[in-house]
């Protein structure tokens, strides 16, 4: 009798811990939404569609999100382009071609890369990468979207490698055996059979990598120059949404319009990562079924 009661209590406790994260997620949406809601009332959401982000001004404060959104998009797109070949290539090599010794060395190193704090990566970027980009491309300054993208790719690659490798490994051995039996070479088998079969998992890996990239703050803030301009050139400076929140939240006057505008930036960012996660989940499910 007593034992049964105890078991129930433990079960309840475990349930509570498991549901905390749901409560937190809901809490965040409600809280951020509430502050952003004030902005919708005064001065109105129209203000957010402007192309000028100038929150501290003696003339006229502007809270246009477009430069911040395009900034985040540009850095993220560049980082994705850099991440895909390195991430997927490494995953193919580790899962299909590497000898056991090589795998034992490669995997822990890639995992260490995932564990380096982003501030450290950012500092490395500022001291080493920025001057390098400046001299390679003969620019007047290396504080560019490209510098941010390279650092973000460094951070996304471990995620993409781990999940893609999982996906490639879980392709049934019978597929490969059948392909080889038909006379296909090892490379043909990899590119025509194994990788296509693992594709939903690889796409999910890339999505999750992008999710990490879009939410990253410190490293980007240190190397992109943070000028809020709308541009499509990797050699221009950009200001991302995350850097804006991190840089401005500290000193903003509590309850001001600027303060609320930052919550609007937060909402946009939250929706972006949320959307990416949902898409990634869809792909993950597909490859587990398939």
């Amino acid at each position: 009798m007593k034992a049964a009661w105890k078991e129930k209590a433990i079960r309840l406790m475990l349930f509570a811990t498991a549901s905390t994260s749901i409560l937190i997620v809901i809490g965040i949406f409600v809280f951020v939404g509430k502050e952003a809601g004030h902005f919708a009332v005064e001065p109105g959401l129209k203000e957010l569609f402007g192309s000028r982000w100038m929150p501290v001004s003696f003339q006229k404060e502007s809270f246009g999100l477009l430069p911040l959104i395009t900034g985040s998009l540009l850095v993220t797109a560049l980082a994705t382009i850099l991440t895909i070949p390195f991430g997927v290539g490494a995953a193919v090599y580790i899962s299909e071609l590497a000898r056991p010794v090589e795998r034992e060395i490669l995997k822990p190193f890639i995992e260490i890369l995932a564990g380096i704090p982003s501030v450290v990566i950012g500092f490395f970027g500022l001291v080493v990468l920025v001057p390098l980009i400046k001299s390679i491309f003969n620019l007047s300054t290396g504080l560019t979207a490209l510098a941010g993208a390279v650092l973000l790719a460094l951070m996304a690659i471990p995620t993409v490698v781990s999940i893609s490798e999982d996906a490639i490994r879980s392709v049934p051995a019978s597929y490969k055996a059948a392909s080889l039996a038909l006379g296909a070479s090892k490379m043909q088998t990899i590119w025509k059979v194994t990788v296509p079969a693992a594709l939903p998992g690889i796409v999910a890996a890339i999505m999750l990598g992008i999710g990490r990239v879009i939410g990253e703050t410190m490293a980007v803030m240190m190397v992109t120059g943070n000028a809020a301009i709308i541009t499509a050139s990797p050699f221009d400076s950009v200001r991302t949404m995350t850097a804006t929140i991190a840089a401005e939240m500290g000193e903003v006057a509590f309850g001001s319009i600027h303060y609320r505008a930052l919550f609007c930036v937060g909402i946009v960012l939250l929706l972006a990562t949320f959307g990416l996660n949902i898409i990634a989940q869809k792909f993950l499910k597909k490859y587990r079924m398939g």
Partner: protein, 296 residues
């Protein structure tokens, strides 16, 4: 879902969750009881990142003289410090800018009476790369450089190259001060690169031949081997003045500002003791030792 995938899916949520927590904390509003007069044993100081080093040096010396009192210092920015005064979560706020009207309104709503004390002065040095031939600039030229993106170095006596303008983040008290004092309240140009920290400006100026930036005098003097400090002329006819202790104190150097402590109401009890110490000769020696300029 296998273990690794789960782990990584979770990692994706961390940025979102961290963001939420940061936002929640920044609006934290636990109101705490005001000091209990002379019996108070702990003083908290919060605010300007520019002043963290100064405030903690004060705290150290003060605690040596008064072993029974503890002073805790945290940064976060002038705005954070003033918000903490409004929410009653700190005894003293360190601010590198004056309290804004919006914040004063909020304070009155909450029945809080911010009390301002100027405790030190800080000069802002304009720095360029050591290879840059430009040695002196007028305030008007500086204003143009930071607001007009068509200006080139050749317009101010340098080579025919573009100017890379570096500024602090808009959250920085220094940003607002520079905007008010040098830019005469105009907006910075949109291409200005906003750097997250003083060290990032020093680092970039030391590697970018075409860069120009501004930093606190203490930082500029400490980095004199990496960057060149520009002499500033108030107008075309005045002499060019290098920033230094003497020129900031005497008012000859144009780009200087006071640093403040804010309290809720008149200082009393232990807090008064601390403020008196900051303004005393010993306290002002600390100001000099940390790279700022004494107020007296």
């Amino acid at each position: 879902m296998n273990e690794k995938t789960k782990k990584i899916v979770k990692q994706i949520f961390i940025p979102a969750v961290t963001l939420g927590i940061a936002l929640t904390l920044s609006s934290g509003c636990s109101r705490r009881e005001g000091g209990t007069g002379s019996e108070q044993r702990l003083i908290t100081i919060k605010g300007s990142d520019t002043m963290v080093y100064l405030a903690s040096s004060w705290a150290e010396t003060f605690m040596k003289q008064n072993p029974d009192i503890e002073v805790s210092v945290t940064g976060g920015g002038s705005g954070t410090g003033i918000a903490a005064i409004l929410n009653g979560t700190t005894d003293i706020c360190a601010a590198s800018r004056k309290i804004q009207n919006k914040e004063l309104e909020l304070a009155l709503e909450k029945n809080i009476h911010p009390h301002e004390i100027a405790v030190a002065r800080d000069g802002i040095a304009v720095v360029v790369n050591p290879d840059n031939p430009v040695k002196e600039l007028t305030l008007q030229q500086l204003s143009k450089i930071f607001t007009d993106n068509s200006l080139r170095w050749s317009n101010v006596g340098g080579p025919d190259e573009p100017i890379i303008v570096l500024s602090r983040e808009s959250s920085s008290g220094t940003y607002v001060f520079f905007q008010e004092m040098v830019l005469k309240k105009q907006d910075y140009m949109q291409d200005a690169k906003l750097m997250p920290a003083t060290s990032a400006i020093i680092q970039s100026v030391s590697t970018d031949k075409l860069a120009i930036g501004y930093v606190g005098l203490g930082y500029a003097l400490a980095a004199e081997d990496k960057v060149k400090i520009i002499a500033v002329k108030a107008d075309d006819n005045s002499p060019a003045v290098m920033p230094s202790d003497q020129t900031v104190k005497s008012g000859q150097y144009a780009i200087a500002r006071p640093l403040y402590l804010y309290l809720n109401g008149e200082p009393k009890g232990t807090v008064k003791k601390f403020i008196d110490f900051c303004l005393s000769a010993a306290g002002q020696t600390v100001v000099k030792d940390t790279g700022y300029v004494a107020i007296q």
